[in-house]
Symmetry: C2
C-alpha cells in the first residue's frame, strides 16, 4: 500500500500517472467522491462519482477505509477497491489528503506514506491559478489548507519535492524499491 | 552513514567498488585490521594494516567507533576516518561485520544499515572455495559465522540479495536515494 498526499496544485495527478506507468506493479485505487465531475474526467477512472445519498449509505454500511469532507465535498476510499487489488498481489496506490492518510495508516500500518511538496509556496499558488478551474475564494481556501497540510509532513515517512517531475518520480520509484528491501517486510526473517 | 554488512563470500568487495562509482556521494571509510595483507591489496585502500601492538594502543586511546576480533584478527573503524569524511559533507560507506554494525548503530543511530544476502547458502560456499584464499578449515569457520550472521539480518534496516550484481547495486542506490527523502532527516520539518 503506497499512499501519496500533497496539497492541491502540487501536481499530484501527473505524479500518479507517471508512477502507474513506471513498472512498479502499482495499481491506482480509485477514490469515491461527491464532488462534480470535471469535463475531462471519467467515472471510475479519476474518481467514482457518487451522489451524497449513495456516499452516505456506504459510510453507514462501513464500506470505507477512510472518508472525509474536504473543501465541502466528501471523498473516500472503498475497502472493496483496495482489497481486490491487494489480493491480486498488486501494490495499491492511494492519492488522498492528510486526514485520509491518517485513517489509512490505522487500517494499513505497514503502508508507505509519501508526501509530495511543491518547490515553493509561490509555485503552488501559480499552479492553482494556471489551472483556471477554481475561483479566487476557492484558491485562497486551497492555499490555506495546503499550508496546514504541509505542516503535517512529519506524519509521513517520506517527503518528495516536485521540482522536476521526472526527478521526483525517480525518487518515488527509489522509495518503493527500497521499501521492498526492508527487513521488516521479509516473510521469514532468518531464511536466506 | 551507510553500513554494509554480509557474510564472507557474499561478494561485498565488488559491491563496495560498484557503490563508490555510482554517483551517490559515497566515500569508503577504510577499516583498520591486524590481518595480513593479501597480494593485490594496498595499505590505506582496502584496509589500514596495523600491527597488533599499534591496534591495541589505539583501542586504549578510545580512537575506534567499533572494533572486534573476527576469525582471530582485529578489525576496527577509526573515528578519525569517519568524522573527516562526514565533516566534508560526504556519505560515509562502512563495510563491517554484524558485531561492528551494532557498535556503529550506537555511535550513529541515524545511519542506514544494509545487509547483503547470498542468493543461497550453496552459492556462498561456492564463492568461498572459488576464491582459493582460505583453507578448508577456514572456509568451514566462515560458513558457520555466515549462518550465525544471516540470522541477525533483522537487526538491519534493509536486506539486499546479491543475485545479480547490477540489480543488487541498483537496489542499494534506491535505498540511499529513498533515505535522503525520509521526513525524519529534514532539517526544518515544517518548511517547504
Amino acid at each position: 500500500m503506497v499512499v501519496i498526499s500533497g496539497p492541491s496544485g502540487v501536481g499530484k495527478s501527473s505524479f500518479v500517472s507517471g508512477l502507474l506507468s513506471a513498472g512498479l506493479n502499482l495499481e491506482y485505487s480509485v477514490s469515491a467522491t461527491t464532488r462534480s465531475r470535471r469535463p475531462q474526467e471519467e467515472n471510475g477512472r479519476e474518481y467514482l462519482f457518487l451522489s451524497r445519498a449513495e456516499f452516505q449509505k456506504r459510510i453507514d454500511a462501513g464500506e470505507f477505509v477512510e472518508w472525509a469532507e474536504v473543501h465541502g465535498e466528501l471523498y473516500g476510499t472503498l475497502r472493496s477497491e483496495t482489497e481486490r487489488r491487494l489480493r491480486a498481489g498488486r501494490n495499491v496506490l492511494l492519492d488522498i489528503d492528510v486526514q485520509g492518510g491518517r485513517a489509512v495508516r490505522n487500517a494499513y500500518p505497514e503502508g508507505v506514506f509519501i508526501f509530495v511538496l511543491p518547490p515553493s509556496f509561490a509555485s503552488l499558488e501559480e499552479r492553482l491559478r494556471g489551472r483556471g478551474t477554481d475561483s479566487d475564494e476557492r484558491i485562497r481556501l486551497r492555499l490555506d489548507n495546503a499550508l496546514r497540510e504541509i505542516k503535517l509532513v512529519t506524519e509521513y515517512d517520506y517527503a518528495v519535492v516536485n521540482d522536476d517531475l521526472d526527478a521526483a518520480l525517480a525518487r518515488v520509484a527509489a522509495i518503493i524499491v527500497a521499501e521492498s528491501c526492508r527487513t521488516r517486510r521479509r516473510e521469514s526473517p532468518d531464511s536466506i
